[in-house]
């Protein structure tokens, strides 16, 4: 299987520095989120099978950075990475940020998002299918759980995010 290439979006001048700063700020949050998910949903690792060791690149098209996930229960990795420093991934999943979040929360159907071309996958398709099935077997809402970790401020951010993404629109990509 061909390793996936880097994210396709290109950076505007100055965005590299913004991306690096955003990654630094986000990292403690991401670490907390992934540890919490692993603790609350241990069964998802069994569904990942051999792809616990796969590097996934999750690429929210409208954000200036991507997310690197390696769902190894012994050495979890979930970090924001500037696009120009993204690792070579076994599989890449690409779409608008809220769509990716809603897929995890089973608010959207992954096949439907693929049919409509709002979701793109590349690299090891089996890895993507396993990750999708593992996440789909989680009860509850990752978005709600994560926002609740940060109290009223977290919930306000989530609400604002949802208002910012009307369902039927696709955000502008960096071009």
């Amino acid at each position: 299987m061909t390793p996936t290439s880097e994210p396709t979006a290109r950076l505007r001048p100055g965005e590299g520095a913004i991306a690096r700063l955003a990654c630094l700020v986000l990292q403690p949050v991401l670490t907390r989120v992934v540890r919490r998910v692993a603790a609350r949903h241990p069964s998802l690792f069994a569904r990942l099978g051999p792809h616990q060791a796969t590097d996934f690149l999750i690429d929210p098209v409208e954000l200036p950075f991507a997310l690197h996930l390696r769902p190894d229960p012994q050495a979890l990795v979930f970090r924001a990475v500037p696009r120009d420093a993204a690792p070579q991934a076994g599989a890449t999943i690409r779409g608008r940020f809220l769509l990716l979040l809603e897929l995890i929360d089973a608010e959207q159907d992954g096949d439907a998002a693929f049919f409509s071309r709002d979701l793109e996958v590349s690299g090891d398709t089996e890895a993507v299918v396993r990750l999708r099935n593992a996440l789909d077997d989680m009860d509850g809402s990752l978005a709600e759980e994560t926002s609740a970790m940060f109290g009223p401020a977290g919930r306000a951010v989530l609400a604002r995010l949802r208002r910012a993404y009307p369902d039927a629109t696709k955000p502008q990509e960096y071009a």
Binding site: M1, T2, T8, R47, L48, G49, L103, A106, E107, Q108, D109, G110, D111, A112, F114, F115, S116, R117, E120, V121, S122, G123, D124, T125, E126, V128, V129, R130, L131, R132, N133, A134, D136, D137, M138, D139
Partner: protein, 332 residues
């Protein structure tokens, strides 16, 4: 009027709970092995998960049907028999089977558990269906998607068992159970390994202009333009060029989903006992949306009202839907 049971898919325990909560009369599922026709990576149930699922469903009045609907290689029936033993021990309400040997084992070993004949058995004539009923005690047949409603009504009058038809979802019929296209390219069998287009052999390649190519085992089977809707990476729904069709065309079938929501009243009147929603490989979101829509529609019809059918086009393959052969033999 028929019972009009809704038979709903579940690829994971969470999807099963979703289907039950959304109003399924029965949920069908399978184990994590080759004994079922959705043997996909990361999908399906362990025996422990199935035990919990059966308890959850039965507490809420929902049945659980175990799909053992693939064909064992000759002489290698142990896995299918063990799966049947486990299902019986866990209290499933019926087995969905295709292979006569598997059906015979269950009929002899567990005569108190219902046998449903899978669509994979491709039984489409009264004579074939009666054979299964009389010799193996089959209580329900899932009809191949090649029959019109008048033909279903006629078959119903000539067989001693219930009829189940697909009503929504993937519409890859070809000649049911005889598809060897995946096997030809990947070496894995849809019918015996339970994998159509195994994910390990699928690759999507994005081109610089935004087009996307679907590849199976290294062969390009379709290429979608930047704004074009996509379908599953199955050979039967691939688009090919040929000397007489250099522009590329769907040689076998098109990426399209079955949606019989508008034919529900006629199907119920024709005596169909149960309606199957395809999609064990789909998400909880799909299960929730489709099951809720059909629950409401069936309940409306049973109450004597006109069904208010929800728009499910967004969940269909290629965002296209058809009534297929149920509407006319001229389909495709």
């Amino acid at each position: 009027m028929s019972l009009a049971e809704l038979i709903c898919p579940a690829g994971t325990p969470a999807a099963l709970r979703t289907a039950v909560d959304a109003g399924a009369d029965a949920v069908y599922c399978g184990f994590q092995d080759t004994t079922n026709a959705r043997n996909f990576p990361g999908l399906n149930f362990t025996p422990d998960e199935l035990a919990e699922a059966v308890a959850y469903a039965h507490t809420r009045g929902t049945k659980v049907l175990l799909a053992l609907n693939t064909y064992p290689p000759a002489g290698k029936v142990d896995l299918w028999q063990q799966a049947a033993d486990t299902g019986a021990r866990l209290g499933v309400d019926a087995f969905i089977v295709a292979d006569m040997g598997v059906a015979d084992y269950i009929a002899r070993t567990y005569p108190g558990i219902r046998l449903h004949l899978s669509v994979q058995a491709a039984a489409s004539s009264p004579e074939a269906i009666r054979y299964y009923c009389e010799n193996l005690g089959v209580k329900r047949v899932v009809l191949p998607r090649i029959l019109t409603i008048p033909e279903i009504r006629q078959i119903r009058s000539e067989i001693p068992c219930e009829i189940e038809t697909f009503i929504f979802g993937n519409h890859g019929l070809m000649v049911e159970r005889r598809c060897s296209l995946t096997n030809y390219l990947t070496g894995q069998s849809t019918n015996m390994d339970g994998v159509c287009s195994p994910a390990s052999d699928v690759e999507y390649v994005r081109d610089a202009d935004g087009s996307m190519s679907s590849q199976l085992a290294g062969f390009t089977i379709d290429r979608f333009g930047p704004e074009e809707k996509a379908g599953y990476p199955t050979i039967c729904k691939g688009r090919y060029t040929a000397p007489h069709r250099p522009e590329g065309y769907y040689a076998f079938e098109e990426p399209v989903s079955l949606n019989l929501s508008r034919l529900l009243p006629e199907l119920i009147e024709a005596g169909v006992h149960a309606f199957k929603i395809e999609g064990r490989q789909r998400s909880k979101s799909y299960v929730r949306g489709v099951v809720r829509a059909f629950r409401a529609a069936v309940d409306d019809i049973k109450a004597g009202h006109e069904a208010n059918i929800a728009d499910l086009i967004a969940l269909t393959e290629g965002q296209k839907q058809t009534q297929g052969a149920f509407d006319t033999k001229k389909w495709r």
